[in-house]
């Protein structure tokens, strides 16, 4: 009987050779993903997995809020309804709208502390129906975020399982541990300033200061359920550097007030200076 089953198995495998790699091996279904709104991150992580918890962390000015903004813009542009649980009431709707977020499709929960945020996200996930539920804990004190018990993250993970909701958690440190299907660490690299040490024809236009154009951010994939890391972590090593570039994506963030030559067609405020037109600001804040 055993010999027969083995022969049958070999026969099936040989018949399917080249089409299916291992027909008798159980493969966990890959989660459906949605675009983050940043092509480099999409290529790196394959997008945000639906029905999973995604954690994005990074220091101050690392670009995690920009990534959130891009994700919200991508989801709302796709006619989906999103929710943002803002632990410290730090969301800027003006910037978000500029980035393309449709505010009518965004439910914004302005919390005053972490406890309110956790209760709100629990209610939202149990309510169901949202395409993206983002929890921004980046403004909350790290000590309080660290105190969130692991069981709560498990609870969130179990709640979004088998739904089409993307649960996106933003924080300064990684907290969800193994509950997160995708973990991205973000870090700011070079900041781009323009108009440094530049003389202007008239002081009416600008003071002799530099202008913030944007910066480059590196997103490192720490953990991914969908894509396994190529490098192998060694016991005792804090970090491996093998194939690190393959697990890191770099992308640029632009200032809200930066308009390229193509879209703006030049700055009417300044006299003709073709070499620098692309770096000019064209509108004031506020």
């Amino acid at each position: 009987m055993l010999a027969t089953s083995n022969a049958l198995r070999l026969h099936v495998e040989s018949a399917l050779a080249g089409r299916i790699a291992s027909p008798f091996r159980f493969q966990e279904p890959q989660p459906i993903t949605a675009s983050v709104g940043i092509s480099a991150v999409d290529q790196l992580a394959g997008g945000l997995p639906r029905g999973c918890l995604t954690e994005v962390f990074g220091g101050i000015s690392s670009g995690i809020t920009s990534l959130l903004q891009a994700a919200l813009a991508a989801r709302t542009a796709n006619a989906e309804v999103c929710a943002l649980v803002d632990a410290q009431d730090s969301f800027a709707p003006g910037c978000a709208q500029f980035a393309g977020v449709s505010l009518q499709q965004l439910l914004w929960v302005r919390c005053r502390n972490v406890n309110q945020a956790l209760r709100s996200v629990d209610l939202l996930l149990h309510g169901g129906g949202f395409s993206l539920v983002a929890v921004d804990l980046s403004g909350a004190p790290a000590r309080l975020v660290r105190q969130i018990p692991l069981s709560f993250w498990f609870r969130l993970r179990r709640t979004v399982e088998n739904t089409s909701t993307i649960l996106l958690v933003l924080s300064r440190e990684s907290n969800a541990k193994t509950c997160a299907s995708l973990v991205l660490r973000m870090e700011r690299e070079a900041v781009r300033w323009s108009l440094q040490d530049r003389q202007y024809p008239s002081p009416d236009f600008h003071t002799p200061a530099s202008l913030l154009d944007g910066w480059t951010t590196a997103a490192e994939m720490i953990r991914s359920k969908a894509r396994r890391k190529n490098n192998v972590a060694m016991i005792g090593c804090a970090k491996t550097f093998a194939n690190q570039d393959a697990e890191t994506a770099r992308f640029d963030l632009r200032s809200n007030y930066f308009l390229s030559v193509d879209s703006a067609g030049g700055n009417p405020l300044l006299p003709s200076q073709p070499n620098h037109l692309e770096n000019e600001r064209t509108q004031n804040f506020g």
Binding site: A99, A209, L212
Partner: protein
């Protein structure tokens, strides 16, 4: 050939009692007596069979009825009777729009042509009785080709009664003349003549009757012989739905109140369902118990003036109409928990604003969205956690003031309309050129500002009008790059002017590793307060 006219009459026997029993169903199984009249001389005006068996009779005083310990006594409530009457009208309008509001306890309806919809006349009569029973009312229904015959038979005979065409006189002849509701003068005349039944009245000669008692007598004779035809005086369907509940003892417990609110919502929901409508908004007015502040004040002025009851209102507006009374109850509970009335409640008035039921059809190309009813409940629960104004959808104001926005109620209907518009735009090639702000993933994403609300006070050292050193919240650092000032001001013509110079600063904080603690901040100098603030961090 025109179809034969067919009329129905719906009569609620013992209406006063049924109006009370509708709002308090548990009283139906208890001996119950309803009293009415001027305060010292209350008398029994209605009672049920159980009370009658115990020996209670109409006309007994309240003191006498109080001797029966088992009998529950209730004061007659006109508003409940009006609500019961409105519910009865809704039952009739759920069958046909041609309804005459004959009396509080009697309705006349035109059911001509309804046989193709419901079935034969007996089926229609049963359907009316069945729908009335769902509203907590037991009714008599009679159907006849003659409207007056139907009215009289419904008042006289229990159960669904069908009077075949041409046999009206046979059904009426045994009934007493008083069923025709003659005036007192006519009633006395008929008594003197010995005319006690409809048959006797119908057999009188018309000319002689006209000479003796006038046209009123002739009209009654025509009705008694089943020939009194008249058109219906149609009532216009009401769009206002209201229910009342008056408590014997004031309630201050939310649990007990929820029970009553749930009952009223069930009644309203049933009434609107019967009319194929949904609830768009609910308004509740609580009549509160007068405060005890002046309870012991016996001054003449206060004794003369009747204390006016205070009221407490609670409105609930729904983004999409619903008939789910349980959902409405949960929303009301959350609303009352966050803002409870400040005194016990002695009377409840609940009014519903009706709207057509929402009709939607899913689309293959529009992603799923939260269920509107469920979402409303979720938002209400979140609002109970974070506060009423802290959940919703942000809307930017037409102002140059930094961070100028206000929160509006998040409505899935608005979001869906907006989303479907965007979804349809997605299929057009020129989406980005048509005013949409969305930048595709291939474009450079924009920097986000992580806002500090309220702005954090800061200290900034200037050198040549340019920030060189900044400190806030116990951190201090050297400014390595600065961009600004971006000057703006506004509303100087109003009482809340603002003026600020904004700066983008890159700061290296001292005492920590520069690689990890460089930050890009937005600072602002408030020209009116002459102070520096940190408005946020670019993140």
């Amino acid at each position: 050939m025109l179809p034969a006219a067919l009329f129905g009459a719906v009569y609620v026997p013992n209406f006063i009692l049924q109006a009370i029993g509708r709002s308090e169903p548990e009283l139906r199984t208890q001996p119950l007596a309803i009293i009415d009249g001027p305060p010292p001389t209350y008398q029994v005006v209605a009672l049920n069979r159980l009370a009658e068996i115990l020996g209670v009779a109409r006309g007994m005083t309240k003191a006498a009825v109080s001797q029966f310990a088992q009998v529950t006594i209730r004061t007659r409530c006109r508003v409940r009777e009006e609500a019961a009457h409105a519910a009865l009208l809704d039952v009739a309008w759920s069958i046909t729009p041609r309804v005459e509001d004959a009396a509080l306890d009697t309705l006349l309806i035109d059911i001509s042509g309804l046989t193709s919809l419901f079935g034969d006349a007996r089926t229609i009569a049963r359907e009316i009785a069945s729908r009335a029973s769902t509203f907590g009312m037991h009714v008599h229904v009679a159907i006849s080709a003659n409207v007056e015959t139907a009215r009289i038979v419904a008042r006289a005979l229990p159960g669904p009664t069908i009077v075949p065409a041409g046999e009206e006189r046979r059904f009426l002849e045994t009934l007493p003349v008083r069923m025709l509701s003659p005036s007192q003068e006519l009633s006395d005349i008929f008594d003197r003549w010995g005319v006690t039944t409809c048959k006797a009245l119908a057999s009188l000669p018309v000319l002689s009757l006209s000479e003796c008692v006038g046209q009123e007598g002739v009209r009654l004779q025509a009705i008694a012989s089943g020939k009194g035809m008249r058109p219906l005086l149609l009532a216009e369907p009401a769009q206002h739905f209201e229910e009342w509940f008056e408590l014997d003892e004031a309630v201050d417990d939310l649990e007990a109140l929820s029970f009553l609110l749930g009952r009223l919502l069930d009644q309203l929901s049933a009434r609107l369902s019967a009319r194929a409508l949904s609830i768009a908004a609910v308004q509740i007015n609580f009549e509160l118990q007068p405060s005890f502040d002046k309870a012991f004040d016996t001054s003449r002025e206060l004794l003369r003036v009747k204390p006016t009851a205070r009221t407490f209102s609670c409105n609930l507006e729904l983004p999409v109409p619903t008939r789910d009374s349980k959902l409405l109850l949960k929303l009301l509970r959350l609303r009352l928990q966050s803002r409870p009335p400040d005194a016990p409640i002695q009377k409840i008035n609940m009014a519903a604003q009706s709207s057509l039921a929402r009709v939607t059809q899913g689309s293959l190309f529009v992603p799923t969205a939260p269920d509107p009813d469920k979402l409303e409940l979720t938002i209400a629960r979140i609002a109970a956690v974070v506060g009423e104004g802290n959940v919703g959808s942000p809307q930017l104001l037409d102002s140059h003031r930094p961070d100028a926005f206000h929160m509006q109620k998040f409505s899935i209907a608005t979001a869906e309309v907006h989303a479907s518009g965007r979804a349809s735009k997605r299929f057009t090639k020129n989406n980005l050129q048509n005013g949409s702000n969305y930048h595709s993933p291939t474009e450079t994403p924009a920097i986000a500002l992580h806002v500090f609300r309220p702005p954090v006070p800061a200290r900034v050292r200037l050198q040549g009008n340019k920030p060189v050193f900044a400190s806030f919240q116990g951190c201090s650092g050297k400014v390595v790059h600065a961009s600004g000032p971006w000057r703006s001001s506004g509303q100087w013509w109003e009482d809340k002017p603002w003026q600020e110079d904004a700066w983008d600063l890159e700061i290296i904080f001292s005492g920590e590793s520069p690689a990890t603690h460089r930050g890009l901040y937005r600072f602002c100098y408030d020209g009116l307060q002459e102070k520096w603030f940190v408005r946020g961090v670019y993140d």
